[in-house]
Symmetry: C2
Subunit: 216 residues, 2 copies
Amino acid sequence: MKIGILGTGMVGATIGNKLLQLGHQVKMGSRTANNEKAMKWVSENDASASQGTFSDAAAYGEVVFVCTKGEGTIDAIKAAGADNLNGKIVVDVSNPLDFSKGMPPSLYPALSNTNSLGEEIQKTVPGAKVVKTLNTMNCILMVNPTMVPGEHDQFICGNDEAAKAAVTDILKSFGWTSIIDLGDITGARATEMLLPIWVRLMMKFQSPQFNFKIVK
Amino acid sequence: MKIGILGTGMVGATIGNKLLQLGHQVKMGSRTANNEKAMKWVSENDASASQGTFSDAAAYGEVVFVCTKGEGTIDAIKAAGADNLNGKIVVDVSNPLDFSKGMPPSLYPALSNTNSLGEEIQKTVPGAKVVKTLNTMNCILMVNPTMVPGEHDQFICGNDEAAKAAVTDILKSFGWTSIIDLGDITGARATEMLLPIWVRLMMKFQSPQFNFKIVK
């Protein structure tokens, strides 16, 4: 499958590498073409990896992963372009974390509680099928669930059932076996609000190697 | 031990009953003495159970549990009185849930993200030792961890280490074996922000019989 990735940081590169391993073709997008990190990532991979602008990556992908820092997500979506994302599956992995006051971060008030970054993306590109997932963990764990032993959970939400089913297939190809569907995209409020305890636990354990499990 | 409970709802009655079973003496407090629910609770128990105003319950308890609805918590604390709570352990079980826009609730913005109900109580009664715990689950589970099979977690936070140790002993007497200390009272931001996903999971499962586990 042709997949676009918005964002050239560790999250984008990690997901991009996993998708390449699984046989997909991946274009990494940034604010400008020939971004240094994107070029490095392309140089480390075969011809299935390419790079360009946010708009290039969005136009390229049948599925587009949003792997930007939360503060830049909406600008990246606007730069990607509503026309390029129309009708496509947009997988939002980002979080509205505000690090401006130091650690631990808070969430941007306008993007939490009664809103979420997932919903804001959906409002920004109404024609896209936004699916929120993977945002409640470290990026290594996102693509390698066995990094944490035993059973633990992946969350997913979004308005379009077929899009969620397609993303669930991708998650399964990453190795996820327990995927909890929280319903429509407003479920992003709930998973993004897991970040405050995630960050505190990460600081306590001095490791991101843990995950949530819902025990019934 | 003499324990005060602020709140006459299901949470207060459930915790009160457990404390009585464990041999403690418990005074349930409400806005007014002789509250109908408090009188009923007293009538169902032996002489170890008593009732009165918030102030009466706070003056009585060596430890005081806050079991009010979040919207009424700070008023209850003020009515309990800083003098009655000075130097005492105040166990905050409440959540800043705003049900005014229906289900699922949001959190009161002034009491979340960069603040919390636990912190607001601590600011309201600086001389008290506020410990936040038990707020991330149904009240039956609070006092009966085996309601959910297997291993799962209780969270605790607060500024006073000795107070947390004393509350940890109470939690152990309830049956809790895995108790995660999130540090000072600002950790209440993290555990109160678990409520949005808790409520959505409860709606999905049509049952409150579940809990969080941190898998490492």
